[in-house]
Each structure stands twice: as C-alpha cells, then as structure tokens.
Amino acid sequence: MLLDTAYNIGTPEGVELRLPVAGLAPRSLAWLVDALIKSATLTVLSIFLQVFGDLGGGIYLLIVFVLLWFYNVLFEIFNHGATPGKRALGLRVMNANGTPVGWSGSLIRNLVRFVDVLPGCYAFGCASVLLSKQFQRLGDLAAGTIVVYAPKTQASGKPDSTAPVPLKTPMTLDEQQAIVSFGERASLLNEERAEELAAILTPVLEDADRTRLLGHANWLIGERSSS
C-alpha cells in the first residue's frame, strides 16, 4: 500500500490523474500568509482613507467586507485556484473531480468558513482536515473541493551519460522502474546518499554502486552502447 497522500481522479478517458492533497500544516501557513496580507492591506488603507473622513470610513468598511468574504473567492477563481498565501506554499484549490473551482464551489467553501472558524481558532476546520480522508475542512466537504499541491515542473529525462550496462538479473517491472527512477533522481542526490541507496541492492546485484545502477537505468530506458 502506498503511504502517501495521492488523490486519484477518474476521467472519462479512462485514466486516473494523480494529485497530492495538502495537509493541515501547509494550509495553516498559507492561511497565515493571507491573513498577514489582508491585515497589512487594511492597515495601509485605513491610514490613507482617514483623510477622507466619513466617506473614507464607508469605503473602508466596503473593502473590509470584500476582503472578509470574497478575498479567497476572487483569487480562487481568477488566479488558478490559489490565493497569494496558497501560491506561496505551492497549493491550489480545485473541485474534487479535478476541474478548476468555479463560483459555486468557491463561494460555498468560503461562506462555510464561518463554521470552520467555530468555536475559535478554526477548531472545527482543523478537526475536519485531520479526520477527513482528503484533508478537507467543512467548507471543502460542503462544496466538494480539495486543496492540492500545485505540481512543480521538475527537470526529468535521461539519467546522464553513463554507458549503458545490460541488466542480467531478472527483475519485475516495478523493480526496473525503481532503478530507472533512481537514475532520474541521482543528479538531485549527493554522491554519498546515492551510493547508500544503490548499496541496498547488494543482495540482488553483486557490486551494486551508483555508476553501475546509472548504467542499468540507461540500458533499461533503451540505450544501447554505440551500436
């Protein structure tokens, strides 16, 4: 069983799309960033609008209203499902079926936020995130939305230019895949760690080390030595 937070979306085309859902900690931090942005905006505005007396006071209250209830809604709809805080933490909101969140979903999840905040400090919301399978707060459950990590575009591709080494030991597809993935990630690991990981295979492959595994990886993805 996979011990990660992947959430699978079935599509009409018959493939499953996989997304990692975000847990309590990153979501709380994103909330904190948003709270800071909102309070900073209000502080600056209140100083500026004081000049205009009552008129300024009215505009100030209108802005408080919009920030209070619609800050999240507007950002989620016009900014690919992410408030600035979520963007900073690499999160985004989407419908549970993987489509972009729309007015209905976003509005419901953000109005129900009022209940998530109860009885104080987002207690209901936190409990709900911790207890529900896809880390949804009550608003998410009522709206049918999820918060996921926006996928990072990562460098992938060929391991490196190590000469391909034929793999003689029979291996299952999963095992082969592990070796190829090791080849892809090797450049992101430091040398000691890569050696350490490669050494795990010693019982199966004699003298398994980093270069040898990279060679296998290149051979597995289809390279052949200058043939």
């Binding site: 018959g14 079926n97 489509t99 009550l138 459950l141 190829v180």
Partner: protein, 329 residues
C-alpha cells in the same frame, strides 16, 4: 517499446500540447505571433487530449520512469482542466438568473422558505406582543444603554433618521450596512451546517430583536419616524435574511435526514440546490443597503410618499416570488 523510443516518438506532440495549454491559459496579449489560433487549437484539442491520456496509461502499464509518468500526468491534468471547464456568458446568465432561476429555486424550496419565515416572524410577533403587554421585557434582550440609544435615534425631535449620523455621510452608512447586514446573512446561512441550529439561532434571535424594538418604539410613540425609516428597505432586508436562514435550514436538513445519500453528499447537494438563493439573497441585501443608506434616511419626501414607496417594494416582492419562475423544472 523502450522508454527512450517512446519518448522520442511522441515528444513532438507533447510539446505541441504543452504550448496549446500555455496559449489557452495566457491572456490574449501574451500570445506569440506564430502560435496556432485558438480556433485551430479548439478543433484539435479533444483528440490530442485523448492521445495524451492514452500515452499516460501506456506509460503506467509499461512502468516507464516516474519522471515521465509525472510529466504525462501533468499534461493530462492540464488538458482535463481545460476540456471540462464550465463557462456561461455573464449577462445572459444574470438575466436568466433574475427571471427564472432565483424565484424558481425559491418556489421549489418553499418548505424551507416557509419554515424560515415562520422562525423569524413568529418570535418577532410574540416578542412584540410581550413588549406591548409588559414593556420591561425588552430589557431581557437589550441593554438599557442600547435601548436609550435606539430611542434617541428615532426620536421625532431629530432631523435625521436612522442610526446616528454625524455629518450625514450616506456612503459611510452604505459601507456599514453592506459589511454588517451581508455578514449576518452569510452567517445565518453557514450556521445551518451545524444541523440547522446556527440558522435557527440567528433567525429567532433577529426575530426577537426586531419584534422587541418595533414594539418598544411604537409604545414610546415614535412610530412615524421609525416606520417611515424602516419601510423602504425592510422588504429587501427581512426577506433576504429569511432566505439565507432557509438555505441554512436546507443544509441542516441534509445533515439530519440525508436519505439514501451519505451525510456529506446530502449536504453538498443541498448546498448546490440552495446556491441561487445565496446569490439572490446577497443581491437583495446590497439593494437593501443602498435603499437604507440613500433613501430611508432622507427627510425631504412627505411621509405618505415614503410609505407608498415602501409598500410598493413589499408588493413587488410578493408578486416576484409569487409569479416568477413558475416554469423552472
């Protein structure tokens, strides 16, 4: 097929698809001159998307590397988001909403609307009768300080009606009404998630408050100033609050009696059903704030005219919810 051969065979289509996604997501101004026009993209998009899905499935069953799988997963996800996005033209949607969807949903959910209306007006009438019979009862609900401030506001000796106005800045009051009243509306709705209890609380509390204040000011003999101020926006405001309460009760009913669905499924579908009422209620409260700030507080129109306008709004509401939206399925 080895991964490398697979990648080199299809790399071109993936790059094209990636570029299409970028073109579709970018604003018009940032599109390059040699990008395909949107019409071409739209025509070929679904076929290309299905191809990407096919590649993703192949990459998974053939156990190609995680990196490649992630890339294809990402491409398919982006495609999915573009293909299954829902869009409706804004102004058509607004017109259809006001003429059919909002009143239609109201009619369809009449049980909840009725329940919420009763939950607001019955406590209001009860409290009003109680205050008329025994004026001290109002102090069980309001502070003496609040009561005297309320009296001061509607004292006929004042020139300006309504909540206190220092320099009569209507905009300021507009901001306050928007912020305060719509927040109350939203809370009345959201509280319904707690098995309807939150909505019931706000409905009954506001009903008691409204009844108490009305009766108290009537007993005090401030009827003219009070009702001429309130009548203009009351139809919008009170109806909107009961609508929000009604949608809250829908959520609560979903939680209490989910029927054949799971509890959360029931709540979700009730919330979606009630959404037009949330939009409509919000619009009504914006209208209420507008009327309250710029019309209700004016002193120049003769009282009879203000009563006439207020009555007109009430009649408008009754006919709107009575006659409109009958053909909504």
């Amino acid at each position: 097929m080895r991964q490398e051969a697979f990648e080199s065979r299809h790399a071109e289509s993936w790059a094209i698809f990636e570029r299409w996604i970028a073109v579709l997501s970018a604003p018009r101004s940032r599109r390059g001159p040699d990008d395909d026009p949107v019409a071409t993209i739209s025509k070929n998009f679904p076929a290309m998307y299905r191809k990407i899905c096919h590649h993703l499935a192949l990459a998974r069953t053939r156990r190609y590397s995680i990196g490649l799988q992630q890339r294809l997963n990402q491409l398919a996800l982006d495609g999915h988001q573009h293909l299954y996005r829902t869009r409706t033209p804004f102004f058509t949607a607004i017109g259809k909403f006001l003429v059919r969807e909002f009143p239609g949903t109201f009619r369809k959910q009449w049980r909840f609307m009725l329940a919420s209306t009763l939950m607001f007006y019955l406590p209001a009438i009860g409290m009003a009768l109680a205050v008329v019979a025994q004026p001290e009862i109002i102090y069980s609900l309001l502070d003496p300080v609040d009561v005297s401030r309320m009296e001061e506001m509607y004292d006929p000796a004042n020139d300006v009606l309504g909540r206190e106005r220092d320099s009569g800045s209507d905009i300021q009051m507009f901001g306050f009404y928007i912020y305060n009243n719509i927040s109350i509306g939203f809370r009345t709705f959201a509280g319904g998630l707690i098995f309807g209890l939150g909505s019931l609380f706000f409905l009954i509390f506001n009903g008691l408050f409204f009844g108490a204040v009305t009766a108290h000011l009537t007993v005090a003999g401030f009827t003219e100033t009070f009702s001429s101020f309130v009548i203009g926006h009351s139809s919008f405001e009170l109806t909107a609050i009961t609508i929000f309460g009604g949608v809250g009760l829908m959520l609560g009913y979903g939680a209490l009696a989910p029927g054949r669905k799971s509890r959360w499924q029931a709540i979700r579908s009730r919330a979606r059903d009630g959404l037009p009422l949330i939009y409509g209620g919000t619009l009504m409260l914006v209208a209420a704030a507008f009327v309250e700030a710029f019309w209700s507080s004016t002193v120049w129109p003769p009282l009879s005219f203000k009563y006439a306008v207020g009555t007109f709004f009430w009649v408008l509401h009754i006919f709107y919810f009575w006659l409109m939206g009958r053909n909504e399925p």
